[in-house]
């Protein structure tokens, strides 16, 4: 599906879905920093909610699980990069559903792969890997937008200094509310645009990849998850706490046998 096909071919129901996904992306962008900061804007929860909204919860898990493991150490403590992981997760899941492609999940339950590159094994993780790369790029693309919005907050906040002269409380409330609306709009617009970009460009590009690249993509979800977990071990230390980590590894292996 090319972007032209996508725009020409989408029905009212598809546009409604894009609208709902944009709304979800806007709400999650709010949740990330501006309002409430529940756990729902984390990549796994965001992708799962998007999957449920699209009627494909398994797709939400297929993208959300490795993305969450890779991004688990993205903490707001001394970070220099502020990506938009929740909006990216929604866009990738929504875009894949809109393009009719549902990848396999990490480690088991298999979905149908739409438009897989020649040579990529059926029911593999390749599409999940491709979507994961797309989510990482979209999240990185969100960084300058978040920074631009924060610069705008600064401009607005400085307008609030007038209240220090005239004591107008309503102005402060208005500025704060304007910032909330700006965040919501940023999330909704980038989320909607992301859904269309993934459906119209990213997923169709997957089918055009050489077979060898398709095969390599199947490694991505597993390796990204492993690197993310490695980052956890690096930060929290394994050597001094090998007992707790070891107990976890054994329990995880047993869980792997059972599931």
């Amino acid at each position: 599906m090319t972007p032209v096909d996508l725009v020409a071919g989408v029905t009212g129901a598809h546009w409604a879905l894009v609208g709902w996904l944009s709304l979800l992306a806007g709400l999650l962008a709010l949740d990330e920093t501006a309002f409430a900061q529940t756990w729902l804007s984390q990549p796994l929860a965001a992708a799962t909610l998007a999957g449920l909204l699209c009627g494909h919860p398994e797709l939400g898990l297929a993208v959300g699980l490795p993305l969450q493991l890779a991004l688990v150490m993205n903490l707001p403590v001394g970070q220099s990069l502020t990506g938009e992981a929740s909006v990216a997760a929604v866009a990738v899941v929504g875009g894949a559903v809109l393009a009719g492609s549902v990848p396999a999940a990490l480690g088991g339950f298999h979905g149908a792969v739409g438009g897989a590159p020649a040579g990529a094994p059926a029911g593999d993780l390749a599409l999940a890997g491709w979507l994961l790369l797309g989510a990482a790029l979209l999240s990185l693309a969100g960084h300058p937008l978040v920074q631009a919005e924060r610069r705008l907050h600064l401009v607005w906040m400085l307008q609030g200094r007038r209240t220090l002269r005239d004591g107008s409380l309503a102005r402060v409330d208005r500025i704060h509310g304007r910032c909330l609306v700006a965040t919501m709009l940023r999330g909704a617009v980038t989320g909607g645009a992301g859904v269309l970009a993934v459906a119209g460009l990213w997923v169709p590009a997957y089918g055009a990849l050489p077979g060898a690249v398709g095969r390599a993509l199947a490694w991505v979800p597993v390796l990204a998850a492993a690197l993310g977990l490695g980052a956890v071990f690096e930060r929290y230390g394994v050597a001094r706490h090998w007992g707790w980590v070891g107990a976890g590894v054994v329990a995880g292996w047993v869980l792997g046998v059972l599931t």
Binding site: T33, A34, F35, Q37, T38, W39, L40, A45, T48, G51, P57, L61, A70, V72, N74, L75, L81, G83, A104, A105, L125, L133, A136, L137, R150, H153, W156, R161, T163, L164, R165, D166, G167, V172, I175, C179, L180, T183, R215, A216, A218, W219, V222, L223, A226, L227, G228, L229, G230, V232, F233, V245, G248, V249, V250, A251, G252, W253, L255, T259
Partner: protein, 270 residues
């Protein structure tokens, strides 16, 4: 100009009125909405305190001085901000009939508490509970069911809202005594417990990943031993490299790594 007052010397109601508490709590959730690089949460703090000010008869000079007190730099952990906001409301209420809280006193109370709670919040929430919940969600996702993940999200959201509601009331009730709360050893026990949970859950996810690397090597076209070895190396790599990259860069680096490995260990390379 208001005079300095001995902490706790003036009377104030022991609890926040319910209506006022609800209004402040709702605004507390949006503390970071106008976050900016220069003064961070200053406008958010002022907006949180506004319902208290609005409940008083309008006095432009008093309002102007009130806004001036709280328009300065402010930054703390959003989950623990309720203690600071509650404490400030208590101090403002105590000094209401004495010309308002002196600017320096408000500044010292606000800044010292904000710093202490920011540091505590970094350890407890950002480095403790957030990764714990994220990894617990991943473990639940391994079952292949979406609803446990959503259920966990809802439970965490409800829990943190309850915590923030309690923090606001506790901060108001304690006033200056909130400093004593910072010395409670339960904070440090909770931090240690959360970090231990992170290690166990990360180990659990790693064990599951290794098991499925062993079983699912056919999916990537590599021998089981080779795939498991690659996963072990990937798990150890960040500790060896000792560089902390954002997760997005890890995913992109994985794309390049995967390309190399697929050629080296895949069906054509092996």
């Amino acid at each position: 100009m208001s005079e300095a007052v001995r902490p706790g010397a003036l009377a104030a109601p022991a609890r926040l009125a319910v209506g006022l508490r609800v209004a402040v709590f709702a605004r507390l959730l949006a503390l970071q909405a106008s976050w900016n690089h220069q003064r961070m949460q200053n406008l958010g703090l002022l907006v949180c305190l506004m319902p208290w000010l609005r409940a008083r008869p309008r006095d432009p000079e008093r309002d102007r001085l009130f806004c001036r007190r709280y328009f300065e730099f402010f930054n703390t952990n959003p989950y623990l901000a309720g203690y600071v906001v509650g404490g400030l409301l208590r101090l403002e209420t105590e000094r209401e009939d004495a010309g308002g809280l002196p600017r320096g006193q408000a500044q010292v109370f606000r800044d010292s508490l904000a710093r202490a709670f920011a540091s505590l919040g970094d350890q407890l929430f950002w480095l403790g509970l957030r990764p714990t919940v994220a990894l617990a969600g991943c473990v639940l996702a391994l079952t292949g069911q979406a609803w446990p993940v959503v259920g966990l999200g809802a439970a965490v959201a409800a829990g943190q809202l309850a915590w923030r509601w309690h923090a606001l009331g506790r901060g108001y009730a304690a006033g200056y005594d909130i400093v004593g709360l910072l010395g409670d050893p339960r904070w440090h026990r909770a931090i240690a417990g959360a970090k231990r949970a992170v290690r166990v859950l990360a180990g659990l996810a790693a064990g599951w990943l290794l098991r499925h690397a062993w079983e699912g090597s056919a999916q990537v076209g590599a021998a089981p031993g080779a795939f498991v070895a690659v996963v072990v190396v990937a798990l150890a790599l960040p500790a060896v490299v000792r560089r902390r990259w954002a997760g997005e860069f890890l995913v992109l680096a994985t794309g390049l790594l995967a390309l190399l490995l697929a050629f080296a260990l895949g069906p054509k390379g092996s």
